[in-house]
């Protein structure tokens, strides 16, 4: 066992765990952040996607000892109050069916939009190809990302006109 101090969603959190423990289980079992999901444990479904240093990463494949001081953002930290344009778009379009994969979808999609605020269908397919949705909500995920891009543009132009 060893102590690790992580920067999670803007907070400093210390855990005492085996160094090889995947970040996924540290978040879920030790930090009460259960939004990051377990689906396969081998990085194939990406339900466990979080941001480390702004990049989408599979928490199930990331040992806690490898995280260091880099900021970790989970679905709980995507926005302070659930109003990220993607979160709004997801509720507006009723994207989820079971909802289990959606945290991972949102974390991958938010990294895409941060890089590419106006993605095409092809950009979206390429960025999202790693995230499985067993219920088959892919068409709504694609529509949700386009809608979030619109919402973000609208709110940016509103900001700019202030």
């Amino acid at each position: 066992m060893a102590k690790f101090t992580l920067q999670v969603n803007g907070q400093s959190r210390t855990v005492d765990v085996a160094p090889e423990t995947p970040l996924l289980w540290v978040l879920r079992d030790h930090l009460e952040l259960v939004g990051t999901k377990f689906g396969c444990g081998i990085g194939q479904c990406r339900a466990c996607t979080v941001h480390i240093g702004g990049q989408p990463v599979q928490a199930c494949m990331t040992p806690v000892s490898g995280v260091g001081r880099k900021p970790v953002v989970t679905i709980e930290g995507l926005s302070s109050d659930g109003t990220h344009p993607l979160q709004k778009a997801w509720c507006e379009l009723d994207v989820a069916q079971c909802g289990y994969c959606q945290a991972g979808q949102l974390m991958t999609a938010s990294a895409l939009l941060a890089d590419n605020p106006k993605p095409t269908d092809e950009d979206i397919d390429n960025a999202m190809a790693g995230n499985l949705c067993r219920c088959g909500t892919y068409l709504r995920i694609r529509a949700g990302i386009h809608r979030a891009a619109e919402l973000a543009t609208a709110s940016n132009s509103k900001e700019a006109s202030k």
């Binding site: 289980w25 339900a47 709980e76």
Partner: protein, 737 residues
Amino acid sequence: MNPYEAPTPPTLPSLDRRDFLRLTSVASGGLILGSFLKSTGDLKAAEIAKTAPAGDFTPNAFIRLGVDGSITLIAPRPDSGQGVKTSLPMLLAEDLEAPWQSVTVQMADLNAIYGSQAAGGSTSTPTFYSLLRQLGTTARIMLIEAAAQNWGVPASECVAEAAVVHHRASKRSLAYRDLVAKAATLPVPDAKKAILKDPKDFKLLGRRISGVDNQKIVTGQNLFGLDFKLPGMAYAMYEKCPVFGGKVVSANLDRIKTLPGVKDAFILEGTSDLRGLMPGVAIIADSTWAALSARRQLKIVWNEGSHANDSWDNFTQQAQALAAKGTGNVVRKDGDIDAAFAVATKTVEGTYSYPFISHANLEPQNCTARVSADHAEIWAPSQNPGAGADMVNKVLGIPKANITVHILRAGGGFGRRLSADFVIEAAAISQKAGVPVKLTWTREDDLRHDHFRPGGFHFLKGGVDASGKITAWRNHTVLFAGGLSADEFPSRFIPNHLGLSSVIDNSMPMGPWRAPGSCVFAFVYQSFIDELAHAAGRDPLAVRLEILGDHGTVPGTGERGTPYNAARMKAVVKLVAEKSGWGKKLPRGQGQGIAFHFSHRGYIAQVAEVTVSKTGELRVDRVVCVADVGSQIVNLSGAENQVEGSIVDGLSAAWRQELNIERGRIVEANLAEYQLLRMPDAPRKIECHFLQSDNPPTGLGEPVLPPLAPAVANAIFAATGKRIRQLPFSKTDISWS
């Protein structure tokens, strides 16, 4: 449970003797659903009111109005993505005149008062559609009556709208919150006699309503089974024999108990029920990772039993041998098949097959349990909480009255969570360990210990006469369980028909997988109809309409037979042809395919349009779907979600999903080998049309899936001339030149 047939969960409350007596005393007679309605009113005093704050208005077990203005509606059945946690309370809210945004939806625990809480077989809408509307109506009548008494006017002069009762003549209004106390003192009217709203006055039903858990989902809040945590809980893993039915001989438990974080390790003898508590080794630890790490050191000696040499190759050989014998259980015999073949101008023979596949719920099976010698409390992401309680009662001997089951949101169901194996495992481990546990299955556990969708083989021969009409149909079905329906289409519609059935010796654990039976039979029969149409040189649409003919409703065969309304099917087939532009000219490498299927009370037709590259890469460009599931869609967004999801799921299952079996065990371990569909392969466009017919509203979780695979396979044939007779599609070379 027949894994090829839709489960038909009982709609009656399952009751212990005490409840039974109480119910029968109020219902005076048979426990039919109608009396269940009455009993919900009578039972509320005993069951519901004791938890409700004093002064609240609880006219039945599904509705609670608070003096604070709160409106709480109960979702009686589990939600695993099919949307019933939203759609069923919508039925209550519509007739209650409760504005949706002011409603709080609460998930029910397992309770006989709600009738069957098994969410399977697309039964939730047909079971609850009228019932919940009646209960909403009686509550509204009582609130109106309370206002009328208050004002001293006839109730017939008052109306309710948006949680307010109005007396227009005197321009007086009272909010529900101000009527709660009075309404609670009034007698509950007979719900069956309640006059329901005219659908033209619906404010909520038929609209697109976003799921009630969406905000929690998008912000990652504690919601799913696997998210649940109890104080003092330990984390459990459970390893079972990779060969189904195998038993534990010994395990290195002493070593495992010394590993970091491990609290206990032990063997469970289990039972012989392949879908119940299988023998295995439990590890209890202080975290999921400690349990998983310790498990990697686990060494178990198994007695693999008599099926350790089973393999898919072996099953295939058995199937071929059974077919070659040409005998089997005669499921159906119409006309004179030999005479029909003797005069047929064209005959086609073909063997169709499909493999075992997994449900692959993205949330692996899991359950939290706190169990003592005689009490059990369960928190389960289950589709069928009653089955969990039944199994805990049966296997652990705990009285039903001492078993509590809390229903948590499930990360996918598709029929897998109708089983209770994960519940009984958690309960047995908790009881033996003497601590509350959360049992987590790994993906490998989930894939290799599924209750699989069974594979199967169909040896078909069909004949067309000189006019191009299909006149003869011989089908020898070789499956992994018996009990086939005699009514599987095109049964009843081909004059000369022989249906034989044989069963392969096996010990596979099998269960219902979304649209059981239909999910594979539609592929076989709708593809073979296409083969015969092409053999006759005819339009596959015209041949289909000819088979359906002018039959109207064709009765089912035997007591369990299902009537088939050919007129409803013909209507959806015609509409899908129109909406898709059936028959348009496409270049080689592109094609349209059509298929239809009736299951779970729904009549569905689909046209798929595909592009196949010369090197055999498939793209599904468009799927057009027409569904007749009755007169009213409850939640349009949820309904469209089920259509889109079923189409993507149908394509996912048909394209690459396959479990191989060698040495009695599943070969594939995880999602690297077991390939689900990803976004780039999803259909580029899905169009969904609901043909609203004058029939009772029915469910949508399942019936849209079956036609997808044959529609795509038929489109591939149209594009390439390559006929797919085997699932998954990926096994057939569809390149062309």
